[in-house]
Each structure stands twice: as structure tokens, then as C-alpha cells.
């Protein structure tokens, strides 16, 4: 068994990499949501002064990492590596942001679990002694996602009640070998779970089993249970997916009291998103704008952050394929001194 691997899928980071800086950039709709005041930058419109939504999303990701760097008084050249991903074909947004930063770059694709995936990989790089400062970003944009995955944004179709609204937002963190902030202690890498859902307008149902599987494995690997955490938060299962997860937990005798979901936290019911938010940016902005602060203040001491992703493509739905999903979990703790 490898030195820092515990059980089947969990990694241990004994050197406790530290998240020293973070930033979130969101669109106007998210700015009007429950966490509106907490984001670093709220854009006035979804084009952000650019000609295309894709360029706007790239600017958002770029701004989020720049703000994180600025808060730590660093420049892009100070990062050893940059990990980033988004929802667009060929992870366009991440590639062009990496071009701007001119930093050694590893592109990631985990759909909406990308941010958690980035945290896992950053932990590996730091624990592996090959880096001292790593930047991680993930982003999504409602309009670029609709254009690519679904239908034209001006098309007058009705969204089903199971649908989630892709968050227009980008989050970045800087994670270092030393410093002050939140520590990353463990990560559980997920397996792909596909229980036969094929409705691309209901990703919550498809992803809940993946979240559950990773959670179970995490508990088994570390010998922990739900009471070891102040909060267990999933990335974007949404109202329906979260409800399903709670059923799965009940069947296993796990109490759902400490569970929540970023997709539910990012929008208010008045914003009529049906099942809540989704997208790479969703879990990222909620973590950076809200949950990290809660850890810093001691409100939470230890949380389990489970990014959830639906790994379909625009073509696979049309070809009648089911939706494979994945969930990655990271344990974040306040330093507690």
C-alpha cells in the first residue's frame, strides 16, 4: 500500500497543505442570491464588457485567480503550477486563462466536480514535495453552458422542474506548503458511478449515487462517520439530488442533519431556478465566498467538501447514452490554534 494512501480511495496529506488565499467572481444573478455580499467581484452583466460569453467566462476565471494572487501579494510567476478546468469543449476557458498567467499548467475536466478535483490534485502536488504554491481555478457560465449543452439561450422552451441553473461564476484558491489559512488533510478520489439515468435535464438524480458512493468509501477508508464533521456539503446535487441523497443516507442509517448542498445555497427560492444551481463555478464560489470564512472563524472546525460532476457530453445524450457521474471529496479544517 502506498505510503499516503488509506483504504481504497483516500489520500492522506500529513504535511497539511494550506489554502492561503481565495477569491470568487460571479455574475449579476448570483450577486442577487443569498451569498451576494460575500463574493469578491460581482459583474454588472454576463458579457463583462467582452464580445462573447466565452470570453467573459475566461475573464471571470482570470480575475478570480488574479484577485486570489493579489490578496496574497503574489504574481502568477510565483505559482509552481496552475490547475484549472471548466465546462466548455476542450476546457477553453482554463486554457486561455493559463495562457494569460503563463504558469506551468495542468488542465482538468471533472464537469461540476472540477474544483474538488483541483483541490485533490493540488494536495498531491504539495504533499509530493514537487510544489510549494499551487493555484486552482474552476468556472462556469450559464450562457456558454446552455449554448453548448442544451439549446440557444433565446429559445422559448420551458425548463422542467428537475432542471438546475448553471452558475455564472469562477472561483480560485492558492494552496501552499506553509502559511496561514485553512488546511487540507485528506482527499477521496471518486469512481465513476452510472445507475442508468439518461435525462440531461435532471442531473441531480444522476449524481446523487456518485456522491453517496464516495462518501461511503471515505467513511470506510478513514473509519469516520457523519459526526466527525461539522458540515458535509455536496457541490451541486440541487434540491432533488440532495433529497435523494438524504434517502440513501437514511437507508444506511446515516443522519442527514449535517448535510447541505452548494447548489441549494447559491440561489434563493425567489430566483426560480427550480432545483438550484449547478456548474463548476457553483461549488467553488460557495466554498470560497462562504464556507472558508466559516472555517476561519471557527464556526466550523472540519468540513467534508464533495464536488459532484455529471460526465455527459452534448452528443452522448443525443446518442441515447446514460450519464456517468463522479464525486471527489476533500477534508478541510480550520487550523484551530
Amino acid at each position: 500500500m502506498a505510503q499516503n494512501k488509506i483504504g481504497k480511495q483516500t489520500l492522506h496529506f500529513p504535511s497539511t497543505p494550506i489554502i492561503t488565499s481565495w477569491a470568487s467572481v460571479v455574475g449579476p444573478m448570483e450577486g442577487k442570491g443569498p451569498l451576494g455580499e460575500k463574493y469578491d467581484l460581482v459583474l454588472t452583466d454576463t458579457l463583462a464588457g467582452e464580445k462573447t460569453w466565452e470570453k467573459a467566462e475566461q475573464k471571470m476565471m482570470q480575475f478570480s485567480i488574479e484577485l486570489a494572487l493579489e490578496k496574497r501579494n503574489l504574481l502568477p510567476k510565483d505559482l509552481d503550477f496552475y490547475l484549472a478546468g471548466d465546462l466548455l469543449n476542450q476546457i477553453t476557458c482554463a486554457n486561455f486563462t493559463a495562457r494569460f498567467l503563463n504558469t506551468p499548467f495542468l488542465g482538468l475536466y471533472g464537469a461540476c466536480s472540477t474544483f474538488a478535483e483541483g483541490l485533490c490534485m493540488a494536495g498531491v502536488l504539495l504533499e509530493g514535495g514537487v510544489a510549494e504554491k499551487v493555484g486552482v481555478s474552476a468556472s462556469s457560465h450559464h450562457d456558454t453552458a446552455e449554448k453548448q449543452f442544451r439549446t440557444p439561450t433565446e429559445l422559448g422552451d420551458q425548463r422542467p422542474m428537475t432542471a438546475q441553473w448553471t452558475v455564472t461564476g469562477s472561483a480560485s484558491i492558492i494552496i501552499e506548503k506553509t502559511g496561514t489559512g485553512i488546511i487540507l488533510t485528506h482527499a477521496t478520489i471518486g469512481k465513476i458511478i452510472d445507475l442508468g439515468n439518461s435525462n440531461a435535464q435532471d442531473l441531480g438524480s444522476a449524481m446523487a449515487p456518485a456522491a453517496f458512493d464516495t462518501l461511503k468509501t471515505h467513511f470506510e477508508d478513514l473509519g469516520r462517520n457523519e459526526n466527525d464533521y461539522d458540515l458535509i456539503v455536496t457541490g451541486d446535487l440541487g434540491l432533488l439530488g440532495h433529497g435523494i441523497l438524504k434517502e440513501l443516507l437514511k437507508e444506511k442509517g446515516i443522519s442527514p442533519d449535517r448535510f447541505n448542498d452548494c447548489g441549494i445555497m447559491v440561489y434563493s427560492p425567489e430566483q426560480d431556478t427550480h432545483c438550484g444551481g449547478s456548474g463548476c463555478g457553483c461549488s467553488g464560489v460557495v466554498l470560497t465566498a462562504h464556507l472558508i470564512e466559516r472555517l476561519l472563524s471557527g464556526y466550523y472546525h472540519r468540513i467534508l467538501f464533495i464536488g459532484t460532476g455529471a460526465l455527459l457530453s452534448p452528443l452522448t445524450s443525443l446518442q441515447g447514452e446514460t450519464i456517468p457521474c463522479i464525486a471527489h471529496a476533500v477534508v478541510l479544517e480550520s487550523r484551530g490554534e
Binding site: D40, G49, F63, L69, E70, P76, L315, L318
Partner: protein, 201 residues
Amino acid sequence: MIAQNVLLNEQEMTKWLNELQKEHQKVLFWEAQAKGEERKKFAGLRQEIERQQQRIARPQQIDYQSTAIKLVPPQTVIKNVIMAFLVGGSICLIGQIIYNLFTQSGLGLKDAAAATSSFLVFLGALFTALGYYDELGKVAGAGSIVPITGFANSIVSSALEFKREGYIYGVGARLFTVAGPILVYGTMVSILVGLVYYFVR
């Protein structure tokens, strides 16, 4: 700050870019905290810095492009032109033969023309479905693209490719991926011609 389009050496370029990046981050930070007019002011400053960042990178890009372009293998224009002439001419020749056959069999001139186009569309679609039209296109270039058989080829090949995505979003939608613009702009110009004719007459 810098306006000249001078090719800087690696060291100088890095130095300038780092300076600009420091400023960019600071201005962005202030912009994020500001509201209303003040925010617009910072946004303008930030965009100016971005322009300067691009200006610095540009000479290096131009220099590289001019080096790389010298190594690009030349297009075999003469050979392409000859093949386009031969294949394009042949397809038109076949069209003429078919037209003659239709008129000889008693069809009026206009109907024979429509029948000829239809038959050529059929041939183009058939050879696309059989997998031969792309082989022809490789050697013939414009000779197989420009005739109406090429129009049929673009329709069928697109629909074939996306058949696996179903009949609505796959075949149905893709039939007109290339043919669509042709119809859109062709119709548009014909309407303009009609309007001009109406008013000039």
C-alpha cells in the same frame, strides 16, 4: 508606458510583463471593491493595462510567424486547377447529356432543367452514401464542390455523420448545416434582385 513595437529580449519582456501584471492585479482589486462611476474608472485603467500587455507580446508573435511561414509547403496550385477543370467540366458534361436526354424524351425546357438538377442531386447523394464522393473531392477540389452534386454531398454527408444523434437533432438538423447558408443568402439576394426589378421596371 510603452508604445513602441520593438522586439524586446526575453529578460526585458519578462520584466515589463511582471511590472504590468502587478499593476493589473492592483487595479483589478480596487475595481472589485468599487461601485458605479469609480468602478468604471478602474475598469478603463485595467483595460489600458491589458492593451499594453498585448502590445508587448505582439512583436515576438509577428517575428515567429514570419519565421514559420517560410517553411510552409506550397500548395500544388497548377495540379489542383487542372483537376478542378477536368472533374468540374466532366460533371457539367454529364449534366448536359442528361438534359439532352430529357428534352429529347419530350419534357419542356424548364421541366427538363429541373429534372436534370434533381438527377444530379440524386447522383451526388448516392455517391456520398456509397463513400466515394470524399475520395473524389480529395483530387478534384472545387471540381466536385462547385457543381450541384457538391451541394448534395454537403447535405448528405452532414446528415450521415450525425445520424447517430437521432432523426430530429441529428439527421434533421444537420441536413442543412452547409446548405443552410447557401439557401439563406441565395434567397436573400434573389429577393433583393426581385425588389430592384420591381422598382426599376
